[in-house]
Every structure is written in C-alpha cells, then in structure tokens.
C-alpha cells in the first residue's frame, strides 16, 4: 500500500501548472483533494512521476454568481459546496448530491474539479453536471476552451481533457426559480459509490412540465444523460403513464457492470427506481 515515488511540485498559479504539465506530459498528474488519486497510487493503478499539487494555486476556489450563471472553482471542496449559500438558494440539488458522497472526512478534501475531471463512472458530480447542462472550463498550453459536460466523458477514465490541460472550474445557468429537483442514490452503506443514482431537474407551469433533465450515475462506462427520458416528460402533467415511459427510456440506455454492487439487470432496474423516485420528488418540490 505504498505509492510509487514521484517528484512533488507545489506551484502558485495556473500558468505554472500548465507549464509543468506541458513539460512532463503524461508523466505528470495534478493532485487536488487526492481522495481518488492517492488510493489509486497506493494500488499502483496510477504511478505519476510528477505530482503537481493545486492547493496553493490562486483563483481555483469558490462559488460565484454572474447574472444568471454560477461558476464553481475546481478546488472547491464538497464541504464548501454543502455550505454555500449561493448554491442552497439557487441550485440545492448540488448540496443534496454532495451530502451523499463518501463521509465527512472525504468531503473536507474531495474537490468538485477532481470529482468531475477524473472520469470515474462511480463519481456523483459528473451526472449532476450533465443534468444541469454545465460547461467545463479548461486551460492548457494553447489557452482556454470550454467543453459541455455532456460531451466530456468518452469511457471510464477517458475524457476530453488533453495532456497539459487543467480543469479550472465549471459554469452553468441557474435552473429556473421554482424548479423541482432531486438526486436519488442507492448505496450499500455510507461511503459507498452508487449502485445506481439519478439526477432530475424539472420545471412546471400550470400543472404541465415545461422543461426536464435527467442524468444517471454509475450504470455505464460514463455518466449518462438521458435525453429521450427527459424529452418524454416535457408537455405532460407527469402522470403515472408518462413517468413509467420515462423510467423505461432511462433504463434502456444503461449498461452497468455486474460487480459487488449487484448483477447488471438489477442495477438497470435500480437506475429505473432511482429515476422514478427522483422524478416524483422533483414534481412535488416544483412550484
């Protein structure tokens, strides 16, 4: 359980990080909270020769509001997300999901950036970012670029992030005032990754659903944005038959592994159950 040896760097600016990453190529990794990376290094599933610590890098922490948009710095921890007033008022689903991640100690360290950048299908924030329609803000040797969370994930641990690039933050439009939301996660115990989880955000007007967005965690190689299931809700009163149809559409895009969390068929069904519960709760919460 001893990680391989590496050289440790602790730069102060995004520019220095990018230059270290560019110099050392795929031998370098950034370390944020370290609560996914260090366990992987102990198992020697990761053995970076250069570790670039982001803790002193200026400008990567905090939640800020700019008109209708919210930007969250990559180094903002899960504990800070839970405590954020701006998020509690404008986008409470983030707090709801963050409270279901790991345990208090892990949440003091784990960052939003590490959670979404990593490409671990077990992580909870990627599906949530897809549900919110968030944009990832990336910076590399050629400057900055933006990638839609729904386009970022290619396969487990394979993402759009290129060598030399850093994720500096995420940005999304505030969900409309009065929206309904829910993050429902089935797990075996505190601190466990999801057997299946679903994020739902929707809005209602005069008893009819005017927008809906559904995404799923840990039932495929990547987080899954459930486009067809989302579309099925729009223009309906979210009656029982519509919800049945959306659940079936959500289940149909899952491709879970059979593992300690259960056989694939079970996890697909649980993705459906989580989707159903999340839609029902979001409907109740919508104003």
């Amino acid at each position: 359980m001893i990680p391989g040896d590496f050289e440790y760097h602790r730069p102060n600016s995004i520019g220095e990080v990018v230059s270290l990453l560019s110099t050392h190529g795929d031998e370098a990794r950034v370390i944020a909270g370290g609560h996914s990376l260090i366990p992987m290094m102990k198992l020697r599933l990761a053995a970076p020769e250069h570790l670039v610590d982001l803790q002193d890098v200026a400008g990567l922490v905090g939640v800020s509001e700019d008109g209708g948009a919210i930007t969250i710095g990559a180094m903002t921890t899960q504990t800070e997300l839970i405590a954020s007033k701006v998020l509690a008022e404008n986008c409470p689903i983030i707090r709801e999901a963050a409270l279901l991640i790991a345990d208090p100690q892990v949440r003091y360290c784990g960052t939003l950036g590490g959670n979404v950048a990593n490409g671990d299908p077990g992580n909870d924030m990627p599906a949530l970012m897809q549900c919110l329609g968030a944009t990832y803000l990336l910076q590399g040797p050629d400057g900055t670029r933006e990638v839609d969370a729904r386009d970022y994930y290619e396969a487990a641990y394979f993402t759009e992030l290129k060598d030399g690039e850093l994720l500096t933050g995420v940005r999304f439009e505030k969900p409309v005032v009065g929206h309904g939301y829910a993050y429902k996660k089935l797990k075996r115990k505190v601190g466990d990754y999801a057997t299946a989880a679903a994020a739902v955000i929707l809005s209602m007007n005069g008893g009819s659903c005017v927008s809906a967005s559904i995404a799923l965690t840990n039932v495929g190689d990547t987080p899954l944005y459930a486009q067809a299931a989302s579309d099925a809700l729009v223009g309906t009163a979210l009656d029982a038959a519509t919800i049945d149809q959306a659940v079936a559409l959500a289940e149909s895009i899952t491709e879970p592994a059979s593992d300690g969390r259960g056989p694939a068929e079970y996890r697909t069904k649980m993705a459906g159950v989580m989707t159903r519960r999340a839609i029902e709760e979001a409907k109740e919460r919508a104003q």
């Binding site: 590496f6 050289e7 370290g34 609560h35 260090i38 100690q105 892990v106 003091y108 360290c109 601190g191």
Partner: protein, 165 residues
C-alpha cells in the same frame, strides 16, 4: 529517491523532517514523530482510525502525503489533554460513557468529534451519527460512542456558559 524537507505545526510545536515525497502523513506522524495515537486501521481511506485535525478539517492521514501538509497546523489525539494530564472533555466522555472497548478506533473518533463539536456544538443524536459516519468501530455498536459525544457536548457547553457568566 526524492527527499523533501517538510515543516509543519503538530500539537502546537513546530516540527521538521526529511521525507520521501510518497510518505503518507500517517507514517510521518507515527514513525518520524513517534505520535502513535493516530492508528492505521485500513490504509484504504475507509475506517477513520487515522483521523487528525488539519487546518480546521478532519482528515484521514493515510490519504494525504506528508508533503501536502507542509505549513499545516495539525492536532492529533496526543494534543487533546492539558499539559498537566487533565483529560479533554471528549476524552472524559469516552471514559465516562464507556465509549470504547478495544480502543483502536478511539483516537480517530476523538479527533473527528473535536471538529464536529466545533462546527455543531449541540448536535442531535442523528447529527452525531452522520458526523462520525467516516469512523468505523468494530466493538461498541456505536451506542456508547454517541453518548460519549453527547457527554462532551454538554460539558463543553456548560464550560462555555460558565465562562460567559
């Protein structure tokens, strides 16, 4: 081998040492500083026996490199009792309420409780259970640990009230 010089504050004292970059904080504390209060239970970030207080956060010291703690302010269970040996209210609570059996989880439980009670001085039993959910105990069944935390909360609140009067 890449040795790095590290300097940090542990239990109020400045400490320094030369470590390999890959040295985990728990190993630096136990082997270099001789602070064997923080325990290694799982070494896989699950059990919380290695929990220490670091810059106002409870962290699992098996999941942090010593070099990351450069300049940090750390408290381990060794830093809880007063200089004359008087136990901290939390330690007293674990003793009075029989909050331990083998004691292996106790240093982590105490350090996690320390931070929990700073953030929430008067937690409900439910909040205590959630607050210590990153700490596993194989012996007690948690019931007496919850009582110990409550004992400590009451005692600390009484002390704060007396000080205010």
């Amino acid at each position: 081998m890449n040795k790095k010089h590290v300097k940090m504050t542990v239990n109020g004292k400045t400490v320094e040492g030369d470590v390999e970059a890959r040295t985990l904080l728990i190993h630096f504390l136990r082997e270099d500083l001789g602070l064997t209060g923080p325990h290694i239970g799982c070494e896989t970030s699950h059990c919380g026996a290695c929990t220490v207080d670091l810059d106002g956060r409870s962290v699992k010291s098996c999941t942090l490199f010593a070099v990351q703690a450069e300049n940090a302010d750390i408290t381990t269970v060794e830093g809880m009792a007063a200089a004359d040996g008087t136990l901290h209210a939390i330690q007293e609570g674990f003793m009075q309420e029989h909050g331990l059996q083998c004691g292996f989880c106790t240093p982590g439980m105490i350090m996690r409780t320390h931070r929990l009670l700073q953030e929430n001085p008067n937690p409900t039993d439910e909040e205590i259970r959630w607050g210590i959910s990153g700490n596993l105990c194989r012996c007690t069944g948690y019931q007496n640990i919850v009582k110990a935390v409550r004992y400590a909360a009451n005692k600390l609140n009484d002390t704060t009230r007396e000080a205010a009067e």
